[in-house]
Subunit: 275 residues, 3 copies
């Protein structure tokens, strides 16, 4: 049997010892777990950003991976903690919307509200359920404990954040910049599946007062310093600068509107018939 | 036998390759070691901060874990390097105060001054004992080598930093802000055990010209933006802002005085009898 | 057989999920791989910096370690992806100069241009070959697949960056500051092997208008705040400030010239005879 994988995503940063405390707790219960950091740089309390990150990574991980996600501004309060089976994976997270994006693509198969103190740390701090409840539950789950042991199987829906997917209005797709990555690439809410598969070299992409013509296939298609639009590795429209930083060049970050205009000529239909 | 755990805490940052050089060295000696980063963001040469971090994490790690701690401004100089057994764990660190806080809670059972070059890297750089002495010693230790092999068992005391615990003066506990974490929570030197267990909703907490009334149990008790005092997950008094950053709101960081005033009424006794 | 080690070095930063996507991909193919982060803070697209980092770490890792290095501004373009055997190690990287420094010390024994889609992710994004080609190839290699399976064995030379080694002109060695590390130590292009082994306490080191006399052996040789020159742990001349930050004190970073003047007296010969 392969060693179980537990990923960790938090808003704890890497300067403090909080992440290490979670890892020590996990390894104390299951020393054979393979721990993988997703990121600990989710901006403090930004559940929505965490929900996107989780959605970006799940496909890359093998079946049964446990994704332990702690962006939990309500720690110690009323929000539930959940163990969830979705897609090929397992999740331990607060019920605060952090699983929204994954749950839209993979209907949860089983949702357990975590309640059984037998699987908690002996002492539970009201300010660190990541260490005292979620980490030990993830570790026990990785050892083969049935999730139903952790608490009550519930049938209600997970708490969901508002949809941020782009809207399609006639011949224009209206989205927004969701975040800029460490390269300064601007990741938008416009998904590849929303863009017509043909005629992509004729599209007009508008953002921050600039208009770009056509989708490129990669960052090196274009001259150094040139603004480009392309489909990034997570299947979203991105705006980038070759060998540069689009967020800095455009002076924008998240929230900025982004639009894709589809040319009205019937070229789309024609090309589709050609295949 | 479970795979041995070696944690790494340094002031090396994560942009350089120093941490990876230590990890490669360890894995070359014991490929079965599980390596866990505690943090590498201890501010350069701040031994006292490292001592607090070590103290925060030990409890979370299982028996026999080796904590390799390298905040070592005296590298290449006179300071000794130690292999220490304390509590349920093992430590490899310079004798410069880095083990102060853990040693106050767990008297060292065995202290070895590391001297045996047989366990060092073949070439020892005078500027990187973390890689060339401490990492290989930790790796050999994790393989089962007896610590006495590494050098001379010594009986003297470890070098100790000045105590930073808060003082109790009549009805006021006087401490200071030790650091702010990545959320901006201000961690103080006032320990939970120093605060009377009852009447906590009547306490006055003073810091940076503000007075807060009562301890809350978690960050979400209070209105968004409100300043709160509570006992954090390491058992210290913290000052926080709900969904915000207390360090920024108060414009302070470490060194700022923090006081807890205990109300003089006999309510404490009464509540205690109620239990 | 020990568990295979795969290191990861990228310019992806740690705020995004890109590194985790690579790790999930590797573990999905070889769950027994031990993953070690070298650094993900190579400045975006700075291939030359990545080449130095790789060179710094290889010696610390055991035989057969696979070094997966992704600083790849040309992703999706014409540049080749390579699997290379050099020294005791294996490398998966774009052919853009990233292997320059290691290849100068260890002639590549075997170079394979990666072409065999059988070892790729089923869908290959044109913007993320790190995840979709290099990570899976590294994982399959760690499982024992022969590198020749990945594509065509080629005999040409690797793409090479311009040499940045210091020049020796009569009695002066002329180099430059390559980067400053997280301590503010200024790492130069002057290598220990270029400096005469004797008479080192008489050398004059010039940088940023300052002249330092003699090499020290470690950072603590000198008074707090004093500028020092020494040979760092990677065998390069460094300029440092005891308990301080030389980059800040001198107000410089990479590109600044650094010179070592060798005194003209015949003391060198004499001392050499003494050994």
């Amino acid at each position: 049997m392969p060693r179980p994988i537990i990923t960790l995503m938090t808003d704890f940063g890497i300067a403090d010892s909080y992440v290490a405390q979670m890892k020590g707790t996990i390894l104390g219960i299951n020393p054979d777990a393979t721990l993988v950091d997703v990121t600990h740089q989710v901006p403090p309390q930004q559940v929505a950003r965490g929900a996107f990150v989780l959605d970006e990574i799940v496909e890359a991980f093998p079946e049964s991976t446990i994704h332990l996600a702690v962006v939990d501004p309500g720690v110690g309060g009323e929000r539930a903690l959940l163990a969830v089976e979705m897609g090929r994976w397992r999740f331990v997270a607060p019920d605060n919307g952090l699983l929204t994006n994954v749950a839209r693509r993979y209907a949860p198969r089983r949702v357990i509200r975590i309640e059984n103190r037998r699987y908690f740390r002996a002492t539970v701090s009201p300010t660190f359920h990541g260490r005292d409840i979620m980490a030990p539950v993830a570790a026990h789950w990785s050892l083969g404990v049935d999730a139903a042991e952790f608490g009550t199987v519930i049938s209600g829906r997970l708490i969901s954040l508002p949809e941020s997917k782009a809207e399609i209005l006639d011949d224009v797709i209206v989205g927004e910049v969701l975040w800029s990555d460490s390269f300064g690439n601007l990741i938008t809410s416009i998904e590849e599946s929303q863009i017509p598969p043909t005629g992509r070299s004729d599209l007009c992409i508008e953002c921050a007062g600039r208009t770009l013509r056509g989708l490129r296939s990669n960052y090196s298609e274009g001259n150094p310093g040139e603004l480009l639009a392309l489909i990034g590795s997570s299947g979203r429209l991105e705006i980038a600068v070759r060998d540069g930083n689009a967020a800095r060049v455009l002076g924008i970050s998240n929230g900025e509107k982004a639009r894709v205009r589809v040319p009205s000529e019937p070229s789309t239909r024609r090309e589709r018939n050609d295949r």
